[in-house]
């Protein structure tokens, strides 16, 4: 159980995390979703007591992180897989962590076995691939058999096999009744991994809901309509409180069911040339929701034009 209340972090003039309150419950995977630079990692560091909040607080099972006795036995975390001394072996890395929280040395071999690194346990961690480093990071998180697990962008840079492995792994941890909090900037990934979502943008909470609700809201369908009597139809739809936006040779209607639009057309005796659902991708919809809250905007259109320009010649 993680509870954040009014969590705020200010770096000079920038407000990295702004009055953030949310809770993460045990027994399921909770996704922590937001664009890059939204404040996810900062929040995770504050949960672990690495960064001090400017205001507000975060509690784990009712306690602040520094009040936990042998914290690795309560909270396991993978914030950055590269946080390992490159000349230290995987086993030595886990050995000192185990020692620090009075965890039995046998547990080191157990977690190495769990993540499949037993064969390279005595190799220096600097020579590990990203996937192997990620596994070592997970082994470190699991070391104290903790109730609460935090993962920051665990699938970043992994191959499909690695992604699938991590996804299954998180489900297993949640099924064992643990609290699993995992951040990502990809809604498509979170839709497959998490059953609850905490969504933030520019450090502010955008929503906390079940993933299904969020996805339904994010991919709210719009309908393309073409008709020779567009003016009549537009008035009728607007009266039915739909949003009507002009498109190439027709209009795009949102906020109304596709069947309802057909019925309204019928009632008004309007001929329809096209009535088709427009399904934006999940990512597009997510970008719409967090659109205002993206810290670093890239002009994607212009970027695409520029990329295409040489091939056009």
């Amino acid at each position: 159980m993680i509870e954040a209340q009014g969590l705020t972090k200010r770096y000079g003039k920038t407000l990295a995390v702004d009055d953030l309150s949310f809770s993460v419950t045990p027994g399921k995977v909770t996704g922590f979703l937001g664009p890059n630079g939204a404040g996810k990692s900062t929040t995770m560091r504050m949960i672990l007591g690495l960064d001090n909040p400017t205001e507000g607080q975060v509690r784990i099972g009712g306690k602040r992180y520094h009040e936990l006795h042998h914290p690795l036995r309560t909270v396991g975390a993978l914030l950055d897989a590269k946080w390992v001394h490159p000349n230290r072996s995987a086993r030595a890395h886990l050995a000192w962590m185990a020692k620090s929280n009075k965890i039995s040395p046998r547990r080191v071999d157990e977690v190495l076995e769990t993540v499949g690194l037993s064969a390279v346990a005595n190799k220096r961690a600097g020579g590990f691939s990203l996937g192997m480093s990620q596994r070592l990071g997970i082994a470190a998180a699991l070391l104290g058999d903790p109730e609460v697990l935090l993962f920051d962008e665990p699938v970043n840079g992994l191959d499909p096999e690695g992604i699938l492995w991590i996804r299954k792994f998180m489900h297993r941890l949640a099924e064992e009744g643990r609290t699993v909090f995992v951040s990502s900037h990809l809604l498509s990934e979170m839709a497959l991994t998490a059953s609850e979502l905490v969504v933030i943008g520019k450090g502010k909470l955008i929503s906390q809901s079940s993933t299904d609700d969020f996805v339904a809201r994010a991919s709210e369908n719009s309908v393309k309509v073409r008709s020779p009597q567009l003016d009549v139809l537009r008035d009728a739809l607007t009266r039915a409180s739909a949003t009507v936006a002009p498109a190439d040779d027709g209009v795009v209607v949102s906020g109304l069911d596709i069947a309802k639009i057909g019925e309204i057309a019928m009632e008004n005796g309007v001929v329809l040339h096209e009535l088709s659902p427009q399904r934006g991708s999940l990512e597009q919809a997510f970008m719409q929701i967090t659109g205002d809250a993206v810290e670093y905007h890239a002009d994607l259109e212009a970027e695409a034009q520029r990329a295409l320009a040489p091939t056009a010649n």
Binding site: R45, L48, G49, L50, D51, N52, Y65, H66, L68, P71, L72, A77, L79, D80, K82, W83, V84, H85, P86, N87, R88, S89, A92, H93, A95, W96, M97, K99, S100, N101, K102, A140
Partner: protein, 255 residues
């Protein structure tokens, strides 16, 4: 005790401390061999001459100690450390203790190897350790290394970057202290109280280990007005204050 064991595992599970220990030994012993081997009747070898090269090892020890901290910042393991041990003060104190202990051992080994080597090179010179001053001059090297390691750890915690911390330590201990003497009228008064000059006073005293000669074949004598005992206390207190500042800073800062 647990925290000491943690830091011992961390320190000894990488190769750099072993290399630094070896370099400290080889450089210091090599320089001693050159000095003692070339001693003649005009400048006979003394106990002080056998420890002439100690400042070379000192530089290496400070690099080792600073690196033990700055690499933790460089590779992010300091965050893992604070995650495992949220009480940053204890974690950093344990680290300092382990590094200081290792430096003490390296210092003692180096000092006695240099002394032993000298007795082999100059079997006829009077190199026996038969006064307190002689003993301090040899056995004190490890103690100075240990205190210098604490200073280096503190600077490492404050600066956090390897290159920055090491250049600061090297430039200060090798150049700044002696350059301050050049300031007109007040330079010498300030120099008397600078830590590495004072540490030299602890080792050399008033030159008892050097057969009463000043700087002909041995380290130049310290200008510190303190007695050797107080000189050590002053040097250690300087290190302790620096460490306290560093730990207080680390507690407040975001890791």
């Amino acid at each position: 005790m647990t925290l000491l064991a943690v830091e011992r595992i961390k320190l000894l599970s990488t190769r750099s401390p072993w290399w630094c220990a070896l370099v400290a030994l080889v450089v210091t012993a090599g320089f001693t061999a050159l000095v003692v081997g070339n001693a003649d009747e005009q400048f006979p070898a003394t106990v002080a001459t056998t420890q002439f090269g100690y400042s070379f090892g000192l530089a290496v020890i400070m690099v080792l100690a600073a690196l033990a901290v700055t690499t933790e910042y460089r590779f992010g393991t300091i965050r893992t450390t604070f995650q495992a041990i949220p009480n940053r003060g204890s974690a950093l104190l344990a680290k300092t203790t382990v590094i200081a202990a290792l430096s003490l051992v390296i210092g003692e080994v180096t000092a006695f190897v240099c002394w032993g080597l000298s007795t082999l090179l100059q079997p006829n010179a009077d190199l026996a350790l038969n006064s307190t001053a002689d003993w301090i001059n040899v056995a004190g090297v490890g103690v100075v290394y240990a205190v210098a390691a604490v200073i280096a750890v503190a600077v490492g915690i404050l600066v956090r970057h390897s290159a920055g911390a090491i250049s600061l330590l090297m430039i200060y201990s090798l150049a700044v202290e002696s350059l301050i003497q050049l300031i007109p009228s007040i330079g010498d008064d300030i120099y008397e109280w600078l830590p590495f000059n004072v540490a030299n006073k602890f080792l050399m005293g008033d030159g008892g280990s050097n057969s009463g000669r000043a700087a002909d074949a041995g380290m130049p004598l310290s200008t510190s007005p303190l007695s050797p005992g107080w000189a050590l206390a002053y040097f250690a207190a300087f290190a302790a204050v620096l460490l306290a500042i560093a730990i207080t800073t680390a507690k407040k800062r975001d890791a």
